[in-house]
C-alpha cells in the first residue's frame, strides 16, 4: 500500500467521489484559481493545493471558483444541497466562520429540524484549522468546538491521511451537513492509504495506542504530540492509551468511557482554547459518567484563553506540546488522595 500525504488522500477522495456521483461539486475561493486572469485556470487548486488539477477532469461547472464571499459560498452550498447537489464547499480558513456563520448555524444545520424532517442537506464544508505558521489571530484558530456545539452539524477532525480519505468519502456520502477540519500543518504528513475508495464511519474513535495507566484523548495534530509524549512516558514505566475521536460530532463516548473505566486517569489534549471547548466537553462527559473510576482529577492540556499570537516565540508557548502532555500525565499518574 502506497504512502500518501493528507493532501493526496483528500485529493483522491474528492476525485473518486466526483467520478462516482455527478451531483458532487466543489466550490470556493480559488479551488481552481486563475479565473479571469491572463495566466489561466488551475493557478492554485486551493491555497494549499488539495484541489489542484480537478478542474482539468471535471470542468468549471463542477470545480466552481467563487468570489471572496463566504456567506454566499456557504449559503449557496446549503441551498444547493437542499435542492439536489452534494456540494463540497471550501471555507478556506475556519476563522472565516465569523463572516458566514449564519448560513451554517441558522440555515444548513437547522433545515431538517425546522422543516419537520423534510429536508436533506448533504453538504460538506472543508476548512483549515490550526496554529503554528505565524498566521496570527485570524488564520490560526481551531473552532471545531463551536461547530460541535451546534445540533444538526457533524464535525470531523482527522489526524492522518488514512482517516482523512475515509472520513472525507463518508462525509460526501453522508446526508447531513458535515464540517471537515484539516490542520494546516499536517497536509504533508504521510501514512499508508489504499488506492480504492473506502469509508470510515462517523462516531468511531481510533485507539492509536493501547495502555493501562492513563487515557489520553487527543484531537488532530495533538494526536502526534500525544504519541511523542507516550513514547517517552513508556520508558518511564507509564503506559498511556491514546484515543483519537476522529469525529467530535458524533462523539464516540463509549470508547472514551471504557478506557477511563480501565485506567482511572484522563488527560485531554486540545489545540483549541479551553473554555466551552472539546476538552471541557470530554472532561464533563467523564466526570459525569465515570466518576467512580477516576483515581485522579481530569487534566486538560489546551491553548490558553487568548487569541493566537503572531510571534513564533509566543505561538510556541500557545500550542500544547509533548512536554506539557507528559507533565500532565505524570501529574495524574502520581496523584495521591
Amino acid at each position: 500500500m502506497a504512502q500518501k500525504t493528507i493532501r493526496q488522500a483528500l485529493h483522491e477522495a474528492l476525485a473518486q467521489e466526483m467520478r462516482r456521483d455527478p451531483r458532487v461539486v466543489i466550490m470556493g475561493e480559488d479551488v481552481s484559481g486563475g479565473a479571469g486572469t491572463p495566466g489561466g485556470r488551475d493557478a492554485a487548486g486551493g491555497v494549499l493545493g488539495v484541489t489542484k488539477g480537478l478542474i482539468a477532469e471535471f470542468g468549471e461547472e463542477r470545480v466552481i471558483d467563487t468570489p471572496i464571499t463566504e456567506s454566499a459560498i456557504m449559503g449557496a452550498a446549503a441551498g444547493a444541497a437542499a435542492t439536489g447537489l452534494r456540494p463540497v464547499a471550501e471555507l478556506m480558513f475556519s476563522d472565516f466562520l465569523g463572516v458566514c456563520f449564519d448560513q451554517i448555524y441558522n440555515q444548513a444545520a437547522k433545515f431538517r429540524y425546522m422543516f419537520g424532517g423534510k429536508a436533506r442537506t448533504p453538504l460538506v464544508i472543508r476548512t483549515m484549522i490550526g496554529a503554528g505558521r505565524s498566521a496570527a489571530a485570524q488564520h490560526s484558530q481551531s473552532p471545531y468546538g463551536i461547530f460541535t456545539s451546534v445540533p444538526g452539524l457533524k464535525v470531523v477532525v482527522p489526524s492522518n491521511a488514512y482517516d482523512a480519505k475515509g472520513l472525507l468519502i463518508q462525509a460526501i456520502r453522508d446526508d447531513d451537513p458535515v464540517i471537515f477540519c484539516e490542520h494546516k500543518l499536517m497536509y504533508d504528513l504521510k501514512t499508508k492509504v489504499p488506492d480504492e475508495a473506502y469509508t470510515i464511519p462517523f462516531g468511531e474513535a481510533s485507539i492509536v495506542r493501547d495502555g493501562d495507566d492513563v487515557t489520553i484523548v487527543a484531537l488532530a495534530r495533538m494526536v502526534h504530540y500525544a504519541s511523542e509524549a507516550a513514547e517517552k512516558l513508556a520508558r518511564e514505566g507509564i503506559d498511556c492509551e491514546i484515543i483519537d475521536p476522529r469525529t467530535t460530532s458524533p462523539l464516540d463516548q463509549d470508547t472514551i468511557l471504557d478506557s477511563v473505566a480501565r485506567t482511572g486517569r484522563l488527560v485531554v489534549v486540545d489545540e483549541a482554547t479551553p473554555r466551552c471547548s472539546m476538552a471541557a466537553d470530554i472532561a464533563a462527559l467523564v466526570a459525569e459518567n465515570a466518576f467512580a473510576a477516576l483515581k485522579a482529577p481530569i487534566r486538560r492540556v489546551t491553548a490558553p484563553h487568548t487569541p493566537v499570537p503572531f510571534a513564533p516565540v509566543l505561538e510556541k508557548l500557545y500550542i500544547p506540546n509533548a512536554d506539557r502532555i507528559s507533565a500532565a500525565v505524570r501529574d495524574v499518574h502520581g496523584y495521591a488522595r
Binding site: R23, V25, M27, E61, R62, I64, T66, P67, T69, S71, A72, I73, M74, G75, A76, A77, A78, G79, A80, A81, A82, T83, G84, L85, P87, D102, Q103, N106, Q107, K110, F111, R112, Y113, M114, F115, G116, G117, K118, A119, R120, P151, G152, K154, D174, D175, D176, G203, P250
Partner: protein, 322 residues
C-alpha cells in the same frame, strides 16, 4: 393581460386565500391560539401571486419573516400551514418550525426565514443546482426592503451574476423594515438601482397591480430559463398590518392604514380590472370568495381540533442519521 380564464381565477383564488388566511391568523393570534410571533402578508398578495404565477413545483423560492403569502402562492397546503402556525401535530413542519420557518421542499418552498437576508444565498444554491443539473428550473428570492440592506443579499446578487445563474431577486418594498422607514434605511432609496449595479437587469413595478408583477416576472423568468442569468424586481407594495401581530404601529401616519386599504388594495384592483375588461364576472369571483372562506374555516377547525406534537418528536429530525 394575456392570461386565460383559469389562470386568472387561480391568481384571484391564491390572493384571496392569502388575504383571508392572514386576517384569520390575526384573529386567532389575538385569541391566544397561536404561540410565538406572526408577520402578516395582507396587502402584498399581488407580489407573491404575480411572481409565483410563473413557477412550477420544482422551481424554488426562499422567503422572509413574512412568509405565509409566499407559501400559499407556491402551493403549500393551507390546512397544513394553519396546523403549523397553531403548533399542532400534522403541521407542515410537524410543529417544529412555526410561522417563521414554514417550509415545504416538496413544493419548492425553501422556507420562511427568521434571519433577515438569510434566503438570498440559499436561492443562489438552488439556482446552482438548476444550472449544474440542467433542470431548466429557476430560483426566486423574496426579500424585503429591510433584507435588501443585508450583506448576504449583496453577496448573493454578485455571485448569481458571476456564475450566471437562473436566480431572480424579488425585493418587496413595503416601506418599512420592522418599525423603520425604507426612506431612511435604504441609503440610495433605490433597491432596483442597487441590484442593477451588480450587473443584472432590474425593474421597479407597482405591487398593487398583479398584472404589472406578472409581466415583470414573465421577462425575468424567460431570461433565467434561457441562460440569460439573474434579474431583480423591486415590487412597491404595502402591508396592512404591523411588522408582527400586536405591533402598536406608532411609526405609521394618521389614517395611513385606512388609506392604504381604500386606495392600494391589490385584490380590489384585480377585481376591478378583470370585471371591467369582462375577463371574469363578479359572480365568478364571489364564488371563489365563498370557496376560500370555507377552506379557511376548515383549516382553523382542523388546527383547533388537532393534538400538539408528540413529546418524542423533540428528539427526532435533527440528523438524517447520527
Amino acid at each position: 393581460m394575456q392570461q386565460n380564464r383559469e389562470a386568472l381565477l387561480k391568481a384571484y383564488r391564491d390572493m384571496v386565500t392569502i388575504r383571508r388566511f392572514e386576517e384569520r391568523v390575526q384573529d386567532e393570534f389575538s385569541k391566544g391560539h397561536i404561540p410565538g410571533f406572526v408577520h402578516l402578508y395582507a396587502g402584498q398578495e399581488a407580489s407573491a401571486v404575480g411572481v409565483c404565477s410563473h413557477l412550477g413545483p420544482e422551481d424554488h423560492i426562499a422567503s422572509t419573516h413574512r412568509g405565509h403569502g409566499h407559501s400559499i402562492a407556491k402551493g403549500c397546503d393551507v390546512v397544513g400551514m394553519m396546523l403549523e402556525l397553531f403548533a399542532k401535530k400534522g403541521g407542515l413542519c410537524g410543529g417544529k418550525g412555526g410561522s417563521m420557518h414554514i417550509a415545504d421542499l416538496g413544493h419548492g418552498m425553501l422556507g420562511a426565514n427568521g434571519i433577515v437576508g438569510g434566503g438570498p444565498p440559499l436561492v443562489v444554491g438552488a439556482a446552482l443546482t438548476a444550472k449544474t443539473l440542467r433542470t431548466g428550473k429557476v430560483a426566486v428570492s423574496f426579500t424585503g426592503d429591510g433584507g435588501s440592506n443585508q450583506g448576504t443579499t449583496f453577496e448573493a446578487m454578485n455571485m448569481a451574476v458571476v456564475l450566471k445563474l437562473p436566480a431572480i431577486f424579488v425585493f418587496e418594498n413595503n416601506g418599512y423594515g420592522e418599525y423603520t422607514g425604507a426612506e431612511y434605511a435604504v441609503g440610495s432609496r433605490d433597491i432596483a438601482g442597487r441590484a442593477a449595479g451588480f450587473g443584472m437587469p432590474a425593474v421597479k413595478v407597482d405591487g398593487d397591480d398583479y398584472f404589472a408583477v406578472h409581466e415583470a416576472m414573465r421577462e425575468a423568468t424567460e431570461r433565467a430559463r434561457n441562460d440569460g442569468g439573474p434579474s431583480a424586481i423591486e415590487v412597491n407594495t404595502c402591508r396592512f398590518y404591523g411588522h408582527h401581530s400586536g405591533d402598536a404601529q406608532l411609526y405609521r401616519g394618521k389614517d395611513e392604514v385606512r388609506k392604504l386599504r381604500e386606495e392600494r388594495d391589490c385584490l380590489r384592483n384585480f377585481r376591478r380590472r378583470v370585471t371591467d375588461a369582462r375577463l371574469l364576472e363578479a359572480r365568478d369571483l364571489d364564488a371563489v370568495d365563498t370557496e376560500v372562506a370555507a377552506l379557511i374555516d376548515q383549516a382553523v377547525a382542523a388546527a383547533l381540533a388537532a393534538p400538539p406534537p408528540e413529546p418524542e418528536t423533540l428528539m427526532t429530525d435533527v440528523y438524517v442519521s447520527y
